[in-house]
């Protein structure tokens, strides 16, 4: 593990921000607490996706499959078989991990290019949604209703808005820390070489199948866990929301806007886009139908055009050049170029 990881772990700014956020439920009115919770969910989802899609450069559109498995399977196990949702969460995560491994293997075996990989993962996600909708035991098209959240921790219930908010905060921080860890471990180096040039990666000893699979399994399992918590938050488990590829598109959009492959990039994207989307819907949703989508789309296009590599890298280079110019500013007197 490279020391950068521990630098963040020891950083008072990092923990200070988390503690500040954790105080959210005490000060935020419920509508804003809802937006904050949703933002945390998407920070977690986009950061998990980033392991495969950003660091590893494999544009997976299969992730709704893992969210859906985490949400629907654990809920169905509880409602149909009475299996504790904690155990259901673990089972769903294992199933998601297995599906991730199978997808990686198919990708490797048939040497899929980037486009075929994206399309095939999308096809898997579509199939997943259809299977859920067509299977009565999984709630079918009408979905599943979880029992009311009475705050019984042992039953995967976290109580009021505050409890589930803290769960989502933990998951969001966890997902970011996993990204940081991956980037500072050999796995991150391997994934980045695979992303940039597979043949050249192999030529310096990188095992393509192994590393892509590990990334996919980590990402799928964590995404599935987030899916279970998301289901608990929503109480109504709607397959058209939680198992739909539209969800993946949102995740990919957030990660891309924030900055692919960076530990904090997807988080930045979520912090910008989720509140924006929610507030626009709140303010404009009642007026002209579709207007809020239009404004949201315009903002996304503007941000992507202005910072094609994502907001975070753009901010970082802006900061670096500002620091650089501050330094040269400070040096100026000693240079004392005549006539300058």
């Amino acid at each position: 593990m490279k020391s950068e990881f521990f630098t963040v772990l020891r950083s008072p700014v990092f923990w200070g921000a988390i503690i500040l956020l954790a105080l959210g439920p005490f000060v935020l009115p419920s509508y804003y607490l809802h937006i904050a919770t949703l933002t945390l969910i998407y920070i977690a989802l986009a950061s998990s996706w980033n392991i495969v899609g950003g660091i590893g450069g494999q544009i997976s559109l299969a992730h709704s499959l893992f969210v859906g498995t985490g949400a629907v399977l654990s809920s169905a196990l509880l409602l149909k078989l009475g299996i504790n949702m904690w155990l259901g969460m673990v089972i769903a995560a294992l199933v998601s991990g297995l599906m991730g491994a199978i997808i990686s293997f198919i990708d490797f075996r048939f040497r899929l290019g980037h486009l075929s990989f994206a399309l095939i993962t999308l096809a898997f996600a579509e199939m997943g949604e259809i299977i859920v909708i067509g299977t009565e035991a999984l709630g079918g098209a009408s979905g599943l209703f979880l029992p009311k959240d009475k705050g019984d921790l042992l039953a995967f219930q976290f109580g009021s808005g505050a409890g589930i908010f803290w769960v989502m905060l933990t998951l969001a921080v966890g997902a970011i820390l996993i990204n940081l860890a991956v980037l500072n471990l050999p796995l991150g180096f391997y994934l980045r070489t695979i992303r940039d040039n597979e043949a050249a990666a192999q030529a310096i000893g990188v095992n393509i199948l192994r590393n892509k699979t590990i990334a996919m399994v980590i990402s799928a399992m964590f995404t599935s866990v987030i899916g279970t918590a998301y289901a608990r938050y929503l109480t109504f488990v709607d397959p058209y929301q939680l198992a739909s590829p539209v969800l993946t598109v949102e995740i990919v959009l957030i990660a891309t806007v924030g900055g692919l492959g960076k530990a904090f990039g997807p988080a930045l994207g979520a912090v910008l886009l989720i509140p924006l989307g929610e507030i626009l819907r709140g303010k404009l949703g009642g007026s002209l139908p579709g207007l809020h989508y239009f404004v949201y789309g315009a903002v996304v296009i503007a941000v992507i055009l202005a910072t094609p590599r994502g907001l975070l890298p753009a901010l970082q280079s802006r900061l670096a050049s500002w620091r650089g110019s501050a330094k040269s500013e400070a040096k100026k007197p000693s240079i004392a170029a005549p006539g300058a």
Partner: protein
Amino acid sequence: MAILQIAGLTKCFGGLTAVNDVSFSVEEGEILGIIGPNGAGKTTLFSLISSFLKPTSGDVIYLGESIVGVPPHVLVQRGLVRSFQIVQTFADMDVLDVVTTAALSRRPMLEAEDYAGDVIRRVGLGGKERLTPTSLSLQDKKLLEVAKCVATEPRLILLDEVMAGLTLAETEAPLAVIRELNRQGVTVVMVEHVMPVIMRAATRIVVINFGEKIAEDTPATIVEDQRVIDAYFGELVDA
């Protein structure tokens, strides 16, 4: 002992036979030069040895075992590494990160980064650790090709025209690295068009023309060989 034996190696691309029944051995500890006109099949031969291509027929024996069908990354673990004639870059990774990844094939994370720093300085890329491919010259990228290979700590290294495009003076740094590696026991097979370099560096030379081996001898004898002069030096003089 022969570290590498090539036996009747053939590669066809459709109707074109790029490598045709080539056999030779590489002795442990030598520097073997491979020369031949453009399109002779030298790069294809390297791709066959390093398992990036599957031979149509024939065998490649490394350390006494056939390695046909063994994936390239496994060969790197076993100490066989190749460079690419057409430099292969990683768009979003800086020099240090790329060489560190190569070093990770034998060392743990923290050690790998230090060792990569060493290798980068040795090949003459010191000070350019944090540059990405967009700000590297072609020469620097060639040196990076060498650094990547060296950082995997190979037993046998296949270098494909790593000096092409360098001035004779610029070849000194990579050549010194190759010689130093060789002194430490690393076997080197190098394809090179820069004649003064290969004549000085190689202990033995294999000449390839139209996919076939036409000669194999010491540099001094090779330059006298009539077939070689016709096939190769003739072409160079004409060109």
